[in-house]
Symmetry: C2
Subunit: 349 residues, 2 copies
Amino acid sequence: MTVREDAGAVEPRKRKRVTIADIAERAGVTSGAVSFAVNGKRGVSDATRARILDVANELHWRPSHAAQTLMGKNAETIGLVLSRPEEVIGEEIFFAKFIAGVQSVLSQRGYSLQLQMAADIASEISIHENWIADGRVDGVLVLDPRVDDPRVRALAGLEYPTIVVGGEVETETVRSVHVDNGGSMRLIVEHLFALGHRRIAYVTGDQSFWHIQQRMDAFAEFCIDNGVWGHTLAGNFDPAIAKDATKRLLASPEPPTALVYDSEVMAIAGMSTLAELGVAVPADVSLVSWEDSTTCQVLHPTLTALNRDAVTLGKIAAAEMLQLLAHEPVEQPPVEAAIVQRESTAPPR
Amino acid sequence: MTVREDAGAVEPRKRKRVTIADIAERAGVTSGAVSFAVNGKRGVSDATRARILDVANELHWRPSHAAQTLMGKNAETIGLVLSRPEEVIGEEIFFAKFIAGVQSVLSQRGYSLQLQMAADIASEISIHENWIADGRVDGVLVLDPRVDDPRVRALAGLEYPTIVVGGEVETETVRSVHVDNGGSMRLIVEHLFALGHRRIAYVTGDQSFWHIQQRMDAFAEFCIDNGVWGHTLAGNFDPAIAKDATKRLLASPEPPTALVYDSEVMAIAGMSTLAELGVAVPADVSLVSWEDSTTCQVLHPTLTALNRDAVTLGKIAAAEMLQLLAHEPVEQPPVEAAIVQRESTAPPR
DNA sequence: CTGAAAGCGCTTACAG
DNA sequence: CTGAAAGCGCTTACAG
């Protein structure tokens, strides 16, 4: 990138920075003494410490972050790379909620979040490597783990503090936020089963994600064990695909009496498709969204949804990271999930 | 924060870093020569430059970000503070879309985004000040400007590169992404007027925002000039308040025949309230959402919405910032907005 | 074109 | 308890 120095200068004003040398001079001590004083370390008498601190405040001194980093101080920043397509990030409210949760815990502790979007897993890994090499982040959060995820392998190899959200890996430097996807799926299917449904369809998100595979397994197992006929159809989080899937399912000679969608956007797309087809919810078919939101509460009919609270998930992930960095035992609270029963589910005809 | 050194160490492995001194030694030159070589500056012959570069690659050298920052190099990072309540950020899809747009432009140019949430405007300002003092960011993006916004005043006073999204300030260091809120509001009201509506209500977002005030002004002016009766009701982006506002409006002896909501979440809340009241959309009342989304497209009826594409807005903001930092003339392309007509608007009874 | 050296702002052994 | 000095990894005048 070429910086043209000729054009109108917008360089932040180069106010000469106040350094510990300035303080040292004013206080009549050495810069080393200032360092001890401001860092609360022994090496200066209480009287001089107080005097130094006064001067520092008077001069509005702030430590140079760059110099401290050069001396090996932590960046106090956590990295998060989002590697889903731009459209998905812009539609799925999950990301905004998750980030909000992460932020709220981080900023309480003075940490900040470094965020970047990546086109694919490979570039996500290289972003992580750059951050690590630059010392820009103290640790990273990994979302949407896959089976034997290459990012987690790379990060574990670098022995870099990592929290895998919805993963299962546990090493010295890598911890996971455990999310019971199978249990949540059972919650949903049991709810439908209890209502009397025996033909259930599941429209999935991206099947290469580990958490989606867990859901699929739990779905299949429950159906088999309980004599329920279950269809599983790939959806990929795309509402257009969810619409097609819904049409195909209802055109079947043996249509399902209940539909489960892997995301709110997909569930809404499915509901709208049913309306177009003249299929009544819940009279003709019941519908469940995996992911709750205000929208689910205000739609008509309101949507029965699995509420797992992405904000809390973000908070847990951030808290685990902070504990990992502080060498504290990492508490891994269960991620609560509950089915919120609303109007879109009822006994089948 | 206490760091306990006793527990299991999760410090990133302290691999001794490869420095320019290492390269210098291997290549038989001074570290100054290495610096010239790797930075493409004159001062070394082509032959030595090539040799040095070879050694650098061989040793997998990467410049120390901290050292470079200490020498005054840019952080290549842009800051963004979100100071709306956590719930709003977690519900309004605007933020995720805007951030996605910002990211896509920034990451193409090797810049990253520093994100933080703040409880209020005052702490937003202090976050900015910290970032600036730490040299963590080269410039900042400001969202939701208010009239005579204190953040913008502070940033302008610091002469720090700033892009105000939806603002109007233009100084040497502060530029704005101009958003024609009044024009967009006219688009909406003209659409309703053309359909024959003469009693229109507008449920607003947070009225302390400059862009909301612009919308309100344009709404009032259009109504007055065209003999339309217009109600304006404060909504504050809260769906519960939007519901109450909707109920109050429809309970009026002179209920409006069309409703305009300042956000998608509010519009959906409004629509659901209408359904509860047994008011048909669009037969009894028309409805417009300021903010388009997939959800608007799949609801039943589909929602007529103002589409202003928050992703593009983010891209424009990021592009302006990069131009400002590069001392290039800042292009300020108009932010396109269009009304997408769907099923929720029709002529009144 | 090249080399030796000072400096960015801090921290931390190491002697007194 | 205190002071003088080296060092973190780079950049950049300043002499040759």
